[in-house]
């Protein structure tokens, strides 16, 4: 019989061997020889930490108790791996794209980097996994006790468990916290696990082969013996078969240690494809001999012996000490690899999501303190490792190690399976919100604690017998094994069904009614559409962070050398010679992910946000920026409108200016004209008066002729001056109007007679007298002056061969207008604009007019409340006199 001391010696040698392998793997990594360390084979083997001591010892015990049911624990993961395309592919991609360091990190990152969620998940994971760690310690000490010589006294199991725990903690601390960046991966640990995976597979296969060919004598006799055994018929609780398969699949995805090896330690996504068939193969080989070993154990071993240890006791009973030792090493490997990875995963969560945030917020300086944060992180992680293994040990001591291995394992599975709705929901459903995830997790966790964890201690230990029978607070529908009054379900199935169902219901329902924050929505889109765009979380307002601050902070987390390399590379990428890179958005995102790999997404985000400013995320800043741009847009629209106005005014001004310039030219022309006009008669008057004065003996006829010339010229001057005076009076508003009532026709008649008096030029005038039967109340003299002026103009300037003037009266409602249309040459457009201005003269006319007539007309009409306009027609010129509406009293 092998002594315990020998076994301990063998174990120590084995552990030393693992240390050496891990050490060389780390060395090789440091030298850059990672290729063989990171082969698909190593990845597949590292997944084997799914097979813990529970598999190694417990599966046989499970089979001895319940037949084929044990296999469900391996069918679920096999299906998940074979169906990698559906869930694992996305999970691995998301985990790598977001640099998730743990399940808690992934969930918190998905739901807006919420640290609250991370803390909840971490606490749940610690509570859920601690029994599992205790289970491993228990299995190692139990297996050691088997070898203990009954005569020299039983093994002190507690102290054995303590030393096992101590050794595991030491290994994990040494190789799990060597480098801080989890994404640099723990090559030493992974290699050690891969070696252990091979050891446990070989050990179990060896025992199996020994049992089938060494004890039973071949496959056929073995089959016969299986059928003849107490478990030889198919006796399956159907609900358990289904529930356990689903549960194991869920736990495979949600277990923190599985996430660690499957996602965090994943080097290349293609490895997953190979593992999709290689890992099911591993699982199948691990389960292949479980039933034969159980059957032979039931047959050979005395009644009452622990079936969980058949793997050890059968070789021992058959005298195969070497095989038993190998088997012990296999079990030892299973237990240690699980504890190491689980502890590593949990310690990452605890230090990143609980210790670091607390430490950071406790320091008033925030992230900008001096000193090396790296040491703090590593210290936190080491403390977490010791704490978690310590918890496992304490749990082991207090639970007394009595329960069957399989049962404790299942409880743990149900606990971690509660993460699954939030995890998978988060990567397939964009509508999943933080509060939904929190509600689902808490509901599922509460049901698990009440229906699975607490009852596992047995009636009367934590939950009183009353609660089991009467329900919580005497409420019949709150019984731990019969929630809502549904009795008769298997306790495990009951716990799985209710916790997962209500977890999902709460998750979905709360997600539906809550509204996610902008950051959550961004992250949600990134997670769900990870294959469309792998990358780009939300941005930082880069301008506010200085490179020095970032450098100082990064050094403290990644270490001086790594930080400097990172910054140097970035500076080179930006094309800067040496020195520090510009803190661009892209660089900040890159940096945040680098830091996230060390301290978790939420902490990295918090640290950068302290430096960059605005502890709340820059999405809000983006929103503000968006608001600002909206305002700017509006402002620019206003500006545009104003500029339109301005250009319109400018156009008007330009037109006015042109008009003014034209007028100025006209005025100059007129001044010279009027000087000429005034001068010409003055000259005649002066010269003729000089002739009259100087010439002696002038005849009466000549005197009369000269005097009449002088008179005529004086008359012309007077007329000119009268006109100017008249216009001046009209313009200054000093004119007094004499209103009287009279017919329009009479007024026109008088005007025509006056205008044509003394005229030699023939002008035929056509009128429609019927229309003229309108009584007007206005200043008839002034209106007549306008008419006379227009008729005289036609008379003077109409250059047609047979000049004709058509005078017509139009009524349009209250408006009355009189138009004077001649058939002369139309006034050119250029002149039309100024014909109503003073001194305006059209074309090269003779000097008989002063250019004041139309100006006077318009002034008069303005005074009378009407208007006079010129209408351009093809055949001639038409002047329209618009009479004030109130002046037309009534049609007669």
């Amino acid at each position: 019989m092998a002594s315990v001391n020998l076994l301990i010696g063998v174990s120590l040698i084995y552990v030393t061997f693992l240390f050496v392998i891990a050490f060389f793997a780390e060395r090789a990594t440091a030298r850059g020889q990672v290729k063989w360390l990171r082969s698909p084979l190593v990845y597949t083997l590292s997944l084997s930490i799914y097979c813990t001591a529970w598999t190694f010892y417990g599966a046989v015990g499970y089979a001895a108790r319940s037949g084929m049911e044990f296999v469900t624990i391996y069918l679920g993961p096999s299906l998940v791996m074979i169906g990698w395309w559906w869930a694992l592919r996305k999970l691995v991609r998301v985990g790598r794209a977001q640099r998730a360091t743990s399940v808690a990190d992934l969930i918190s990152s998905r739901f807006g980097k919420s640290n609250l969620l991370a803390i909840v998940v971490t606490v749940m994971a610690v509570i859920g996994v601690t029994p599992y760690i205790a289970l491993q310690l228990q299995s190692v000490t139990l297996s050691l006790a088997i070898f203990a010589d009954p005569e020299t006294g039983a093994l002190n199991q507690s102290s054995a468990a303590f030393w096992v725990a101590f050794g595991l903690a030491l290994f994990t601390v040494l190789f799990g916290t060597r480098n801080l960046n989890v994404n640099e991966r723990h090559n030493g640990v992974v290699i050690a696990i891969a070696v252990e995976a091979i050891v446990k597979l070989i050990a179990l296969l060896a025992v199996g082969i020994f049992v089938v060919w060494g004890v039973a004598g071949g496959v056929a006799p073995m089959m016969a013996q299986i059928d003849a055994s107490p478990i030889g018929t198919w006796d399956m609780d159907r609900s358990r078969w289904l529930a356990l398969t689903a549960l194991s699949a869920a736990a495979f995805l949600a277990l923190p240690r599985m996430f660690q090896v499957m996602v965090v330690e994943n080097e290349d996504e293609r490895h997953l494809k190979i593992a999709s068939w290689a890992f099911p193969l591993y699982l199948m080989l691990m389960s292949l001999f479980v039933v034969p070993i159980a059957v032979i154990g039931l047959d050979l071993m005395p009644a009452g012996s622990n079936p969980d240890l058949f793997v050890l006791t059968i070789p021992l009973a058959e005298g195969q000490v070497g095989l038993a030792t190998l088997s012990f090493l296999g079990g030892f490997s299973s237990a240690t690899s699980m504890v190491i990875v689980a502890t590593l995963a949990l310690s990452t969560m605890v230090s990143n999501h609980i210790v670091m945030p607390v430490w950071l917020s406790a320091r008033s300086e925030g992230a900008q303190v001096s000193g090396d944060v790296r040491n703090v992180v590593i210290l936190a992680r080491r403390a977490s490792i010791l704490m978690i293994i310590g918890l496992g040990y304490v749990y082991y001591r207090f639970s007394g190690g009595g329960a069957a291995l399989a049962a404790s394992g299942l409880i743990s599975f149900v606990g971690v399976a509660q993460f699954l709705p939030a995890m998978l929901g988060g990567i397939v459903w964009r509508g999943a919100s933080r509060w939904g995830a929190l509600a689902g997790l808490l509901v599922g966790f509460a049901i698990w604690v009440f229906c699975s964890l607490l009852p596992s201690f047995g009636p009367g230990v934590v939950l009183s017998v009353d609660i089991f029978e009467q329900g919580l607070w005497g409420l019949g529908w709150l019984r731990p094994h019969a929630l809502f009054g549904i009795e008769g379900m298997d306790p495990t199935v009951h716990a799985v069904a209710w916790s997962i169902t209500l977890n999902m219901v709460a998750f979905i329902a709360v997600s539906l009614v809550t509204f996610p924050s902008p950051l959550e929505r961004l992250q949600g889109a990134q997670f769900v559409n990870v294959f469309d765009h792998s990358g780009r979380a939300q941005g930082w307002d880069a301008a506010r962070a200085t490179s020095e601050d970032l450098m100082v902070m990064t050094q403290r987390i990644l270490g001086a050398e790594e930080a400097q390399t990172l910054f140097r590379n970035e500076a080179a990428r930006q094309g800067l010679d040496g020195g520090l890179p510009e803190p661009t958005q892209g660089f900040l995102q890159h940096l945040e992910r680098e830091l996230a790999a060390s301290v978790g997404a939420a902490t990295a985000h918090a640290m950068i946000s302290q430096l960059v400013g605005g502890a709340s995320v820059s999405v809000q800043d983006l929103m503000a920026v968006a608001d600002e741009s909206a305002q700017i847009l509006e402002y620019s629209n206003q500006l545009e409108a104003k500029s339109h106005d301005l250009s319109r005014s400018a156009h008007l001004l330009r037109e006015a200016n042109q008009k003014l310039t034209a007028l100025s030219v006209q005025k100059d022309a007129f001044l010279s004209q009027i000087s000429h006009e005034l001068r010409t008669p003055m000259t005649s008057i002066r010269s003729f008066s000089e002739i009259l004065r100087a010439t002696e003996g002038m005849g009466q006829v000549e005197k009369t002729r000269y005097a009449s010339i002088i008179h005529g010229e004086a008359m012309r001057l007077t007329r000119l001056l009268d006109d100017l005076l008249d216009l001046s009076v009209l313009e200054n508003g000093q004119v007094s109007l004499r209103h009287e009532t009279g017919g329009l026709g009479d007024l026109l008649e008088k005007s025509i007679v006056t205008a044509q008096a003394g005229s030699t030029q023939p002008l035929s005038i056509r009128r429609r007298r019927v229309d003229e039967a309108v009584t007007l109340s206005t200043d008839h003299d002034r209106l007549g002056q306008v008419f006379i002026n227009l008729i005289t103009n036609a008379q003077k300037y109409c250059d047609a061969e047979a000049p004709e003037l058509v005078i017509s009266v139009h009524r349009d409602g209250p408006d009355l207008s009189v138009s004077f249309a001649d058939n002369g040459t139309p006034i050119p457009d250029d002149d039309r604009r100024v014909i109503f201005e003073k001194f305006a003269r059209v074309g090269n006319q003779d000097g008989s007019g002063a250019g004041l007539g139309l100006a006077i007309c318009r002034e008069i009409m303005t005074r009378l409340g009407g208007d006079v306009t010129h209408v351009h027609t093809e055949s001639g010129n038409t002047f329209v006199v618009h009479l004030p509406s109130q002046s037309a009293l009534a049609a007669q």
Binding site: L75, W234, M236, P280
Partner: protein, 97 residues
């Protein structure tokens, strides 16, 4: 004169084969679920005296492990053949047929 169509209606035989293999890969776990759910319908001793004769454990073991092996072999051969072909459009949805 013929102008090349921007997206071919029919894929060349190689890509077509690859797409169908991806389909098979996706459906494989569903087949696995179905085959491993079947034991639920096997009679058990608790079904009562009228139930058909219960299945021997050796048969059950053989069945579960044969299914397991078949699934592994299928997954392996799909991986093997997909590996040999160029990786394109694997993640794309709405691909032509």
């Amino acid at each position: 004169m013929s102008t090349p169509a921007p997206t071919p209606v029919f894929l060349e035989r190689r890509s077509y084969r690859r797409r169908r293999m991806m389909d098979a890969l996706r459906l494989l776990p569903i087949l696995g679920v179905f085959l491993w759910i079947l034991p639920v319908f096997w009679p058990t001793p608790t079904d009562g005296p009228t139930a058909p004769e219960t299945m021997a454990l050796s048969t059950a073991v053989t069945y579960v492990f044969v299914v397991w092996l078949a699934l592994i072999a299928s997954a392996f051969s799909l991986w093997f053949f997909l590996r040999a072909r160029p990786e394109m459009g694997e993640d794309a949805s709405g691909e032509p047929f």
